[in-house]
Symmetry: C2
Subunit: 525 residues, 2 copies
């Protein structure tokens, strides 16, 4: 296999560009060694799957270095694929959408610029991981909690921009974002919201500014490179009470959803409850072979065997309470009363003193809901065995009602069974909707199964859309397909985004193809 190059450049042109880039950011931060580039592939793609191979990785240290890279990329029409950490493995990792694309990775821009205890926020650069932010808060001695997604190795900014979620009271990451600095394709630097005023005092405390708010435009987007961001934190709670609800029957799903909705709408529960099916819950603690050895999708008997284990069930749900002791006590009482109406449901509540939380909680569900980063849940990907399990996410959004939950469950489990794959679901609840995160797991050593996982996910994207359920984020391999489903008025929103793209990035250098948005000249006809 020959060297991978950006489509627009000959090898000598590319070499010249790399030389210029090395001159700007240092040769050590321009990666072209094929062995090293392997780390930047879609982590679960087989060696022969080369649609998303990068030609190089650039790791700038500052806004000025990003601006220098942009000058050179504009000159040579080099497609840059921005990633913060680039660890979003279930959606393609750091790999670029376009073969031969150059990865612009921001791991080296890793400063926590401010931790403000009084107004409960931090300001971070894109290379700051959840682990980094956690350490910075501890180091400051600030009595603040943060939110983390299930795996803590990702970038706070990267996760937020991809509409990621966590599980404390600031767990809606896009909602808890406040104030960005963005470098446009032209190299121009803007600040959003109140930050548009040079010496603003309110950049990270008030979400909007005077005039239109651009923040949403830079999420799941290729319109700019976010280089600073405010992230809201929460006060260390007096009491932290994570809960675990087990239910016995497959049909309990609708009841859980219809019980959790009023608790969320009335703000009794103030975090994101997660409802896991038996397979998903078991995959955090065990492997498939512990339950079943057959090839096709897990039979009902095996699922029942899992569900009958202590602490498990056909569905298990986790949520948590945070705050002043007496308020939490009342919130728990309200939740207890509500869930007691589901026959066979059992609610277990743990209690922690927020001021004296252990650094490591034994139960990863309790750890993640305390906003403490870990990678314990990576175990879930190893369901089919092997050292390195794979997973891709299929994740539609739907209204938070029992009827919709049942319908999406039926649709997804049937869709996976067709491909002989197990149905593993983590349903994240917001007050009015749920995101049905389906972990399509597979054995990375089994190419046929890996391919089935990708194929099943793509088939589900189309099938779910027929019923009005759209993906909330999409894997590299089917970003175009996922966006294709957003078809109102002849894809009016895509056409709108294309106009913005052309106005901001006429050379189409920033992340072409990201979430299905292509610059002029690269649009599929």
């Amino acid at each position: 296999m020959g060297r991978v190059l950006p489509a627009s450049l000959s090898e000598s042109q590319f070499e010249r560009a790399l030389g210029q880039l090395a001159g700007e950011i240092g040769a050590a931060h321009v990666i072209t060694d094929p062995a090293k580039l392997r780390e930047w592939r879609d982590p679960f793609a087989f060696a022969s799957w080369d649609a998303f191979e990068a030609s190089a990785v650039l790791q700038p240290k500052s806004v000025e270095e990003i601006q220098a890279i942009l000058r050179i990329a504009n000159e040579h029409k080099i497609p840059l694929w921005t990633s913060s950490q680039g660890r979003n493995n279930g959606y393609g990792g750091a790999a670029p959408r376009v073969k031969g694309g150059v990865i612009l990775n921001l791991r080296r821009m890793n400063r926590v610029l401010e931790v403000n205890e009084e107004c409960a926020y931090a300001v971070v650069e894109p290379g700051v991981s959840f682990f980094d932010l956690y350490e910075a808060i501890k180091k400051e001695g600030a009595k603040l909690w943060m939110s983390v997604p299930d795996l803590g190795w990702g970038s706070v900014i990267g996760n937020t921009l991809d509409h990621g979620l966590g599980y404390t009271t600031t767990g809606n990451h896009p909602d808890s974002q406040c104030g960005m600095e963005v470098v446009l394709a032209s190299g121009d630097v803007l600040r959003t919201g109140m930050g548009a005023m040079g010496d603003s005092k309110a950049w990270h405390v008030y979400k909007r500014g005077l005039g239109p708010s651009a923040d949403g435009l830079f999420m799941q987007s290729n319109f700019g490179i976010v280089t600073k961001m405010g992230v809201w934190l929460s006060p260390q709670p007096e009491r932290y009470s994570p809960c675990w609800l087990t239910t016995r029957n497959e049909s309990d799903l609708a009841k859980i959803v219809d019980t959790v909705r009023p608790l969320l709408l009335e703000r009794v529960i103030q975090n994101h409850p997660m409802i896991l099916n038996a397979v998903c819950a078991a995959s955090a603690l065990s492997s498939r072979k512990d339950w079943h050895t057959g090839e096709s999708a897990l039979p009902e008997a095996a699922i029942d065997k899992i569900a009958s284990q202590p602490g498990l069930g056909r569905w298990v749900s986790r949520f948590a309470f945070y705050g002043r002791d007496k308020l939490v006590e009342q919130q728990i009482a309200q939740a207890r009363e509500a869930f007691a109406r589901i026959a066979g449901a059992e609610l277990t509540v743990s209690d922690f003193d927020g001021a004296n939380l252990p650094a490591k909680l034994e139960n990863p569900n309790e750890q993640v809901q305390a906003g403490i980063p870990s990678i314990d849940f990576n175990q879930m990907t190893k369901w089919y065995g092997g050292e390195e399990g794979g997973h891709i996410g299929f994740s539609p959004a739907a209204p938070l009602t029992g009827a919709h939950a049942r319908k999406v469950r039926d649709l997804v489990s049937a869709g996976l069974a067709k491909f002989g794959l197990d149905y593993s679901a983590a349903i994240i609840c917001q007050p009015r909707c749920f995101l049905h995160i389906c972990l399509v797991v597979f054995d990375t050593k089994d190419e046929a199964q890996t391919k089935r996982a990708y194929d099943a996910s793509k088939a589900l994207v189309v099938e779910a859309a027929k019923h009005g359920y759209g993906e909330y984020r999409a894997h590299l391999d089917f970003m175009d397909l996922a966006l294709e489903q957003y078809d109102f008025n002849n894809h009016a929103l895509r056409r709108f985004n294309e106009r913005i793209k052309d106005a901001l990035d006429p050379n189409g250098i920033l992340s072409p193809g990201k979430q299905g948005i292509w610059p002029k000249g690269m649009r599929p006809s």
Copy 2:
């Protein structure tokens, strides 16, 4: 005074365009009669202040009629100034920024398209006022509460797009918006978020979609015309407990702010508390002459006289609790304990059964915090006497700390005193910031005082910006000046917005000058 025309057209050209418009939307909905046009002026501008005179008002009934208007406006380069109700009097009412502009008023598009009790939202057109939405919810018998700003006559969409706020738990109106339909200058219709999928089930329950979120771009903006919007509501609470806190000393402001912040951050208080100074609180119930007759700004002795009245104080604060009885009981206990630490503070709590709330609450502060529309607070503008008082808003955002509150108070009261005007402040608190709404009130019959009010506000815009406090929304008369203060990197955000404007509206027909954003060819040099 001759007839006012759009700058780009001769009288005969304009007549021809009006004829085309009448053909599309009906002559009855094209207003050109000078007497009728007077209702559409800046309501507090004197007759001789003609900078914002409209040439006509158009009132379409549907998206199709808006599209027809846009075709004609593009053909003739007619500037259209969109308003929903156009009742935002403190910021210029319905008047267009550009003299001779045509008002595109959407009052006739007044359907409540859906009230969804299960997921607690409604879908409205721009002509739906808060009164209309309240009636629609009642008519449906839905057990839902809404949020209203202090005056209920405005449009739900218009208020939200201007970053308006209310006082129930969904009182952050831009945050409680979910899913828009927007007509672009080209006439193209797009739907944001999940609505970009033709038959989406999640348009009004999940805020984002796949790819960038455009919603923020259509707020305080001239990039499109919002024709439908989802608005989140809250479940009828078991108990509703509005509170009234009185404090004795001017210096208590910082203590109130530093007490309210942790209560908000810890979600003990879940609405927007408002802190009013003595003058602002008194203006809801009385006139200036009841306290003082001198011309210059109210002396300390008169303010103390107001503050000594039962139920008043140097500062009074209102906030409210909503929800299950036992939770509200605990929340009140927490608030009582916290405010008891301010010497002389008195907290009064009312209690209502949420299921049996009177249609009209005697206390307008309790009424507005229940989300019941009224125009009772319009009394406040009559402070200086006369049937029709005037006010303009000066409204900077700042971090929610006592030190910032004191600083903004000093800055604004001194700035107004210079112009002989009373300092009337309503400070709206969010968990991390406050909006200092200064009601600059004046007697509309007194041209000199009216002019001083405008001049004082403009001086304050500049002075506040020197200290890092920016306006969260701006009056027609100083939109440019307010945006001028947002100067980071040579006004990078304004230049960004201008690029978007040119890409979306090349003829510059949609609300030129709105919040300081001008189309190509109309930009001040």
